[in-house]
């Protein structure tokens, strides 16, 4: 049997920018960030369970400028992945599949992500809800 060169899918750089591709890439990227967040949560829970010096170290890390920056990253990734994940679940149910709707929901997720993340940090920096 002769081996034919099969067509490859076009590479990313041939496309003009679209909101949909950005949302898709960010969904995967935020997911990977949140995997790190999951292990950070496990580490923090172990520190709470151990108490004493272990908890003091963890609390110090979380409260440090770098810790806050990383937590901010986790919170933004979490809100984004959650909202865009709901967008995916709605698609799975067959809702919002028209191109204008896909674009609209994409922009809505982007705006709401920033809004909800700001809201979380408003309450966090105010010293607890």
């Amino acid at each position: 049997m002769t081996h034919r060169e099969r067509p490859l899918s076009p590479h990313l750089q041939v496309y003009r920018w679209q909101i949909t591709m950005t949302m898709s890439i960010l969904h995967r990227a935020s997911g990977m960030v949140l995997v790190v967040g999951a292990f950070a949560l496990a580490w923090w829970l172990l520190a709470v369970a151990a108490g004493g010096d272990a908890y003091a170290t963890a609390a110090h890390c979380v409260a440090s400028p770098l810790g806050k920056f990383v937590l901010f990253g986790f919170s933004l990734a979490l809100v984004y992945h959650l909202l865009n994940g709901i967008r995916h679940l709605l698609w799975d149910m067959g809702w919002g599949f028209d191109i204008p709707e896909v674009y609209r929901s994409g922009y809505a997720v982007a705006v709401l992500s920033v809004l909800f993340t700001a809201l979380i940090w408003f309450f966090a920096l105010r010293g607890g809800a």
Binding site: M1, L45, A49, L82, G85, L89
Partner: protein
């Protein structure tokens, strides 16, 4: 006449006839389904988790322990940890499948991913149990 190895025999079958009868593509819709099930669980629990974590700002160790130790929180946090690491495993699995094309490395990473996620889930549940039972 030259000897031929079995691999060198020409295969006149069409690709579809070679694929027929070999069963489903591994696990069928299992991955898709459990990714959605865990997503729904996580989507329901994230607002509660974020609210609880934000309430810990400025709290001392004793009050953090007391909050996590409440049965409602301890149970939901355990469910969250299970769904979280399960969902993480399913997601990273696809990323590895997509980007790692060396078979040996791919299998190694898939195994490491599975071990790490099981470890993460068990460590979280161990920590929650220790907090809840010793508080």
């Amino acid at each position: 006449m030259s000897e031929k190895t079995p691999q060198a025999k020409p295969d006149y079958r069409t690709p579809i006839s070679r694929a027929r009868g070999l069963g489903s593509g591994k696990s069928g819709t299992g991955h898709f389904w459990w990714q959605r099930v865990t997503a729904i669980v996580l989507a329901l629990l994230v607002p509660w988790l974020v609210g609880t974590l934000v309430s810990f700002v400025g709290a001392d160790h004793a009050s953090v322990v007391a909050t996590i130790a409440k049965p409602f929180n301890a149970i939901l946090l355990s469910v969250f940890a299970l769904a979280l690491f399960w969902h993480a495993k399913l997601g990273v699995q696809v990323v590895i499948e997509d980007y790692i094309h060396a078979r040996a490395l791919e299998i190694t990473l898939q195994l490491l991913l599975m071990f790490a996620c099981i470890l993460g889930a068990l460590a979280s549940i161990y920590a929650i149990a220790r907090i809840a039972l010793l508080a």
